[in-house]
């Protein structure tokens, strides 16, 4: 065994070329360095379009080339505005959702390897590394993002992949339901002091505004109040709970919008309404448990982890836990899934960068050197190993790895 290896390894970790950790989300991107306890920057995943000059989301694209241009410009911004290091000959850890489209993954690696000539890229599954921040190896990880909610059970460090769940429930759904509610119910005072319905003043609300109202005024109400509100909807004789206070919100510097208390409370309800298949966040967790092997279920249920930007909404985790318990007691699950207790973890980070932090911890170890895809190897055949690609994921290869 070479004796110098250890020294070299330590040298590479502490070397000035620290590994860069990227977590590119559909709304916000987290970027920083491995071994640090928080990202250097959390910035909107937006980029100036090369053709129109307008600011557009990175992942809004017509074809592969446009996505590539977006990513080139966006990563340029990250490196030269935020991280201030040379991308060349530096390792990168990309925290990615396992359900991320292959196209995005391939284009991202093309950009990193070809445009920025990074030394190596390591794609790590976001749900798995999130557990590393807790120091545990078993957990049911629910990622509430902007676009969708994705769930992966992880048992002893292995993703139980066939039990994955995903629903298009996330920050965007809250925003669109907030927009509908406001256009339906809210009134605004215009500059001349007269009151108008919001729907007469504007057809749709700007996204930034909706996000701001959501973040600053909205909350996720309790299960008890929610069910009272629901029953009031169908049966007017049931007294609804007294609504929270309304908020005056300055809109675009011209109008004063009154955000009714009911809207503040109801905006996030869209996450908990069952869709046409009867699915919601609570059933996602329970269905995933049902798909997991019998013996793993109690342990998974006692190790729930909820992360993602939307999870940091006031009352969100409390509500999800209450919903899960209520659904588990329901007729459908009581017999199939007799689970006594559900417990929730509290990651040592803000909800929106838990996965990033996991990536940063992993990135600071020597695993980066052992597991990542080096540039030379990528340049030979221009492909990244992927779990969904059979040429990388056959039994033969797995066996070789094990042996």
């Amino acid at each position: 065994m070479p004796l110098y290896e250890g020294l070299g390894g330590i040298g590479l970790i502490n070397e000035k070329n620290t590994t860069v950790v990227l977590d590119i989300g559909s709304a916000y991107t987290k970027a920083g360095f491995a071994g640090e306890y928080g990202p250097r920057v959390i910035t909107r995943s937006e980029v100036k379009c090369r053709e129109t000059g307008q600011t557009v989301p990175v992942f809004q694209y017509k074809d592969q080339d446009e996505l590539r241009h977006h990513l080139v410009d966006f990563i340029h911004k990250l490196y030269f505005r935020c991280l201030l290091v040379n991308p060349k000959d530096r390792r990168v850890v990309v925290v990615e959702n396992l359900l991320c489209p292959s196209l995005i993954r391939n284009v991202l690696s093309k950009v990193l390897f070809r445009h920025y000539e990074v030394l190596s890229v390591l794609f790590v599954p976001s749900h798995l590394v999130a557990l590393m921040t807790l120091g545990i190896s078993t957990g049911l990880v629910l990622d509430l993002g902007h676009q969708e909610a994705t769930l992966m059970p992880i048992y002893e460090g292995v993703v139980v992949f066939h039990a994955w769940q995903a629903l298009p429930l996330g920050g965007r759904v809250i925003e669109s339901s907030l927009s509908d509610l406001l256009l339906d119910r809210a009134v605004a005072v215009t500059q001349d002091g007269s009151e108008h319905r919001l729907s007469t003043l504007m057809k749709d609300m700007p996204d930034k505004c909706l996000e701001d109202i959501k973040v600053r005024t909205c909350f996720v109400t309790t299960l008890e109040r929610s069910s009272r509100l629901q029953s009031n909807k169908y049966d007017r004789s049931v007294e609804p709970p007294p609504p929270p206070t309304s908020v005056s919100y300055p809109l675009e510097g011209r109008h004063i919008l009154t955000v009714p208390g009911t809207v503040r409370e109801l905006a996030a309800e869209s996450l908990f309404e069952r869709d046409q298949d009867g699915l919601t966040l609570a059933t996602m967790i329970l269905d995933a448990l049902l798909k997991c092997p019998l013996d793993t279920r109690p342990k998974l249920a006692e190790n729930l982890v909820i992360l993602g930007g939307t999870a940091s909404m006031k009352g969100m985790k409390h509500r999800i836990l209450a919903e899960v318990r209520a659904a588990a007691a329901s007729e459908h699950y009581r017999h199939n899934l007799p689970i006594a207790s559900f417990k929730l973890h509290h990651p040592p980070a803000k909800d929106n960068y838990v996965s990033w932090l996991g990536g940063a911890i992993l990135g600071a170890t020597e695993a980066v050197m052992l597991r990542s895809l080096p540039r030379d190897q990528y340049l030979v055949n221009d492909v990244v190993p992927d779990w969904c690609n059979l040429s990388f994921n056959t039994c033969e290869e797995r066996d070789e790895k094990c042996a």
């Binding site: 970790i13 306890y37 910035t43 935020c82 201030l84 009352g315 170890t365 695993a367």
Partner: protein
């Protein structure tokens, strides 16, 4: 007049396949090719604080997380905070019964009027620095995690080494290894499935206590249904994310932010690794040590007049060509060739210089970026002037010279419309194609470039071809 300076109307085809105006293009003197920001490699050159214009070495910047030690930004609006001095009465150290005036300092924003006093931060006795840094509350836990996983990874690496070593030794027995369950594999699957968990010996693991889950989570605050929301006391998303590790939710928790530093970039050609642009080290200087902009090396093409184009009608478009180099230049306009043949044309001109670019770069292997696809389809036919013309060298004194000093060129009046110092006007006859809305013509600018990188082995002048696209203007249907 404005159209004279509309640089974006005339675009050159960069070697990577993008059309860019001459101001956005570089010319690599060593490869003799056009390069643009898309196809050069960017590098961080110097780091500096944009407020105090102080240089910061990269090691220091890494320690300070790319933030200036002395300058602060307002956490509320992002404007630079300024230090305010005020005096307070404090008991004198000698005689507690008397009071003396002492100077104290606090930070205030001149834009939104936020001050450090607003959030209850104590005034400082020194003008700069002294502000206590915030700490990450989970520091201890995260540090132990980091150590733990490092030792796990180290362990894994050692094990892998061991395996590779033993594997080589036991090649005789590889058959039995293949068809029976190898002892190592058996142990692995039995102990733990986790790739990050310890395998076998646990003595190596460091102190790490995993966090535990709780059955209860913090619910909504009691008063949320009755409390009035004061919007100005709740932070916006921008305010929260400007300090990612803390993300304060109330404005009362805001903390002054150290100013983020900026970089000066230098650009390097990917193929020969020569600098195309390198700024001066001093942050307050806006000059460059090296600046190989195309406008110093490539004849500049401009439109002289705005022309009304009519569908199907031939009209005269006058272009001016300007020689920025101190050498005479022979120029010809050739018909525009689609991409493929255009590359071969360029190759033909460059074969002679291939040797020099290789000799400078040695063994460097170039990572090619994907070729860009650009719409290069002209929407008008163009009749180009036939024959060559000579562009006089740039002479900085010519502007002050009243006399016409360049009568020596024997110009073909068919080609040259006018001539002034290092500029020449040429006429193109543009016929828009039917049902095109916007007139766009292309041609290849062929010119003799005088190589300024002296190498003995080759001739000093090289013929280069640069495809040019001209957006002539909107076409009116007749």
């Amino acid at each position: 007049m404005a159209h004279l300076f509309q640089g974006h109307r005339i675009r050159l085809l960069c070697s990577c396949g993008l059309l860019k105006s001459i101001t956005a293009i570089y010319f690599c003197r060593h490869c003799l090719k056009l390069r643009c920001s898309n196809c050069v490699s960017h590098e961080v050159d110097t780091l500096f604080c944009p407020n105090c214009l102080e240089n910061m070495p990269s090691t220091e910047a890494r320690l300070k997380k790319n933030r200036c030690a002395n300058c602060f930004d307002c956490p509320s609006c992002g404007h630079t905070l300024s230090t305010r001095a005020t005096s307070i009465q404090t008991p004198s150290p000698e005689d507690p019964s008397k009071t003396v005036a002492r100077k104290v300092y606090y930070l205030a924003c001149t834009s939104c009027r936020w001050t450090t006093r607003d959030v209850g931060l104590k005034d400082q006795t020194v003008a700069t620095g002294g502000w206590v840094e915030q700490d990450n509350e989970h520091y201890k836990h995260l540090q132990s995690l980091l150590e733990h996983y490092r030792s796990v990874a180290q362990h894994e690496k050692l094990e892998r080494e061991k395996k590779r070593f033993s594997h080589r030794k036991s090649s005789y027995l590889s058959l039995s290894d293949k068809y029976s369950l190898p002892s190592t594999l058996g142990r692995k699957t039995l102990t733990s499935l986790s790739p990050f968990a310890h395998k076998g010996d646990v003595s190596q693991s460091s102190e790490m206590t995993p966090l535990t889950a709780t059955s209860e989570v913090e619910g909504l605050p009691e008063d949320i249904f009755t409390e009035e929301v004061v919007l100005s006391s709740v932070t916006t998303m921008e305010q929260r994310l400007s300090s990612p590790e803390w993300q304060p939710e109330r404005t009362a928790d805001l903390y002054p932010l150290h100013k983020h530093i900026l970089v000066k970039r230098s650009l390097r050609c990917r193929h020969c690794e020569h600098n195309l642009s390198k700024p001066e080290y001093n942050p307050s200087s806006i000059k460059f040590k090296i600046q190989l902009g195309a406008f110093y090396h490539v004849p500049e093409v401009r439109m002289v007049h705005q022309v009304e184009l009519k569908s199907g009608v031939e009209s005269n478009v006058q272009l001016s060509l300007c020689n920025p180099t101190p050498h005479d230049m022979t120029v010809a306009l050739l018909p525009f060739v689609p991409e493929a043949s255009d590359i071969t044309l360029q190759k033909a001109g460059e074969d002679s210089v291939e040797g020099s670019s290789l000799s400078t770069s040695g063994l460097v292997r170039v990572v090619e970026i994907p070729a860009e696809k650009t719409d290069l389809f002209p929407t008008a036919d163009v009749a180009l002037p036939q024959g060559q013309l000579i562009l006089a060298a740039r002479d900085d004194t010519a502007e002050y010279d009243d006399q016409e000093s360049s009568p020596s060129y024997k110009d073909d009046p068919q080609v040259v419309a006018w001539r002034r110092a290092n500029k020449v006007g040429v006429d193109l006859l543009v016929t828009p194609k039917p049902d095109a809305a916007y007139g766009r013509v292309g041609f290849v600018l062929r010119y003799d470039y005088t190589n300024t990188v002296a190498t003995a082995s080759e001739s000093r002048t090289v013929t280069l071809n640069i495809p040019v696209m001209v957006d002539v203007g909107p076409i009116t249907q007749s």
